[in-house]
């Protein structure tokens, strides 16, 4: 049975950064990174948008081959199609996730991490010495690896944590069902992302247009099935595209789940750390998770390396990871989740009215903060939302 120090399940942003940081922190450790799919980064299950500042903590996007488009504007679209343009400096980027994930995994590989693609973890159990034995399948062959620390970065399906006895189940009300096409030959502002809300468009979520190039965009939506009128996510998206982009050619297609929840109660147990989507570390308001996953991966990798060096990979030692995550972003997500719940009570009329009100603010002064402040004055029913947010 092969022995490794750190076994990372899943070579997305959380897993690749976790593996890299573990190896960098303690180069003498054997770090193994498993990817179930045959290629890191494919298939893409993502709208590929990422904030500028967070991304730059991990990689330089200027001129990078894994960037599709720089974004400098956000256009919110009310249910009645009223557009609200918000200009912010350096809003963010649309990535090419296939290349970006491969870039991160290659970085880990260059640091000495062993990467196995087309290889999946299929179960795990504790041995008599307190180490994890992880069953691994690749093609027709099966093997068992013994690891001091397992980092669960297995994404939305979040099974590794459950094998370890952690609760990473998702309530249906917090699962965004997402569908996305790559649509070509359509007309939109290629420097902006578009977000449209509406009960008939994407109940409990939003529809998006994320440019990949002029005329080409990721066009998708996420919605909560419990709020559906009977259509599934793909049917909602087909209807939206038929209305907005009837002449677009759909050249690609993907589906997936976004967990709009708060961090799981316990992201660690003896010899196990859970990071990224698998630990519900997505921003529950925006649905963004790439940078969060990398930040969590960094914490997890460093914590695992330090714990192994100290010879203590117990739950008590690994709890430091959970605390560090909660201090970094987890506590903020609790607030964002309360805002999400409050917004769920507002209807289309509210958003239509807010859009018209906000459009009276001069465009250069239309920041998100001002919109929110304006909304409080013009729409006092939002004040309880703000109170719950800031308390």
């Amino acid at each position: 049975m092969p022995d490794v120090d750190v076994l990372v399940v899943g070579a997305g942003p959380a897993g690749a950064v976790a593996a890299l940081e573990a190896k960098r922190s303690a180069p003498q450790l054997d770090v193994l990174l498993l990817e179930r799919d045959r290629a890191v980064g494919a298939p893409v299950r993502c709208a590929e948008g990422v904030g500028n500042a967070g991304l730059r903590e991990f990689a330089d996007p200027d001129g990078a081959p894994w960037v599709a488009r720089k974004i400098t504007r956000v256009i919110f679209v009310a249910p009645d199609d009223t557009e609200v343009k918000v200009a912010e400096r350096d809003v963010g980027w649309i990535l090419d996730r296939t290349r970006f994930d491969a870039y991160l995994a290659a970085d880990a590989g260059a640091a000495g991490v062993e990467l196995l693609v087309g290889t999946e973890a299929s179960g795990m159990r504790h041995d008599a010495d307190g180490r994890w034995e992880v069953a691994v399948r690749s093609g027709g062959s099966a093997d068992t690896y013994r690891a001091k620390v397992v980092i669960a970065a297995d994404g939305v399906e979040a099974m590794v944590g459950r094998w370890a006895g952690l609760d990473s189940r998702v309530p249906a009300r917090d699962m965004e069902s997402c569908v996305q096409y790559v649509v070509q030959g359509i007309d939109f502002d290629p420097d902006a992302i578009y977000l449209q809300f509406g009960d008939q468009i994407a109940p409990g979520g939003y529809a998006w247009v994320f440019p990949k190039a002029p005329g080409i965009a990721n066009v998708g939506l996420g919605m909560v099935a419990l709020k559906s009128d009977g259509r599934n996510a793909r049917q909602y998206l087909d209807d939206w595209i038929a209305r907005r982009y009837p002449r677009g050619a759909r050249t690609g297609y993907t589906v997936g789940g976004v967990i709009a929840h708060t961090t799981i109660k316990k992201t660690y147990t003896n010899g196990v750390l859970v990071a990224g989507d698998a630990a519900h570390m997505i921003n529950p308001l925006s649905g963004g998770g790439i940078v969060n996953a990398m930040k969590a991966g960094r914490l997890a990798g460093r914590t695992a390396a330090a714990a192994i060096r100290e010879g203590d990979t117990s739950a008590r030692r690994l709890a430091a990871y959970h605390q560090a995550w909660m201090d970094l972003l987890g506590e903020d997500h609790l607030k964002y989740y309360r805002i999400k719940q409050a917004l769920e009570e507002l209807d289309d009329d509210f958003f239509n009215g807010l859009a018209r009100t906000v459009n009276k603010i001069p465009r250069e002064k239309r920041s998100l903060g001002r919109i929110f402040a304006h909304a409080l004055v013009k729409h006092p029913q939002l004040i309880p939302v703000a109170a719950r947010y800031f308390v």
């Binding site: 419990l226 559906s228 599934n232 789940g257």
Partner: protein, 67 residues
């Protein structure tokens, strides 16, 4: 150990399923298994709770009599 057999259980239509994994964390007894080329619902573990049915973005899951 289950004492009462549910009247209906979930099945997946693999012609429709995209193997995205969204349904796995929704399943209380972890009855849904995903591998590279297959997704399957374990008929012996499924409790028929239906939590996986509506959220499937493409409608690949449905209930069938537990024969």
């Amino acid at each position: 150990m289950r004492h009462v057999r549910p009247a209906e259980i979930a099945i997946v239509d693999l012609n429709v399923c995209d193997r995205c994994g969204l349904c796995l964390p929704l399943c209380p007894p972890a009855a849904i298994h995903l591998a590279l080329t297959e997704l399957e619902v374990d008929r012996d573990t499924c409790t028929g709770c239906r939590k996986c049915i509506a959220p499937c973005p493409v409608g690949a899951l449905s209930m069938v009599p537990n024969a």
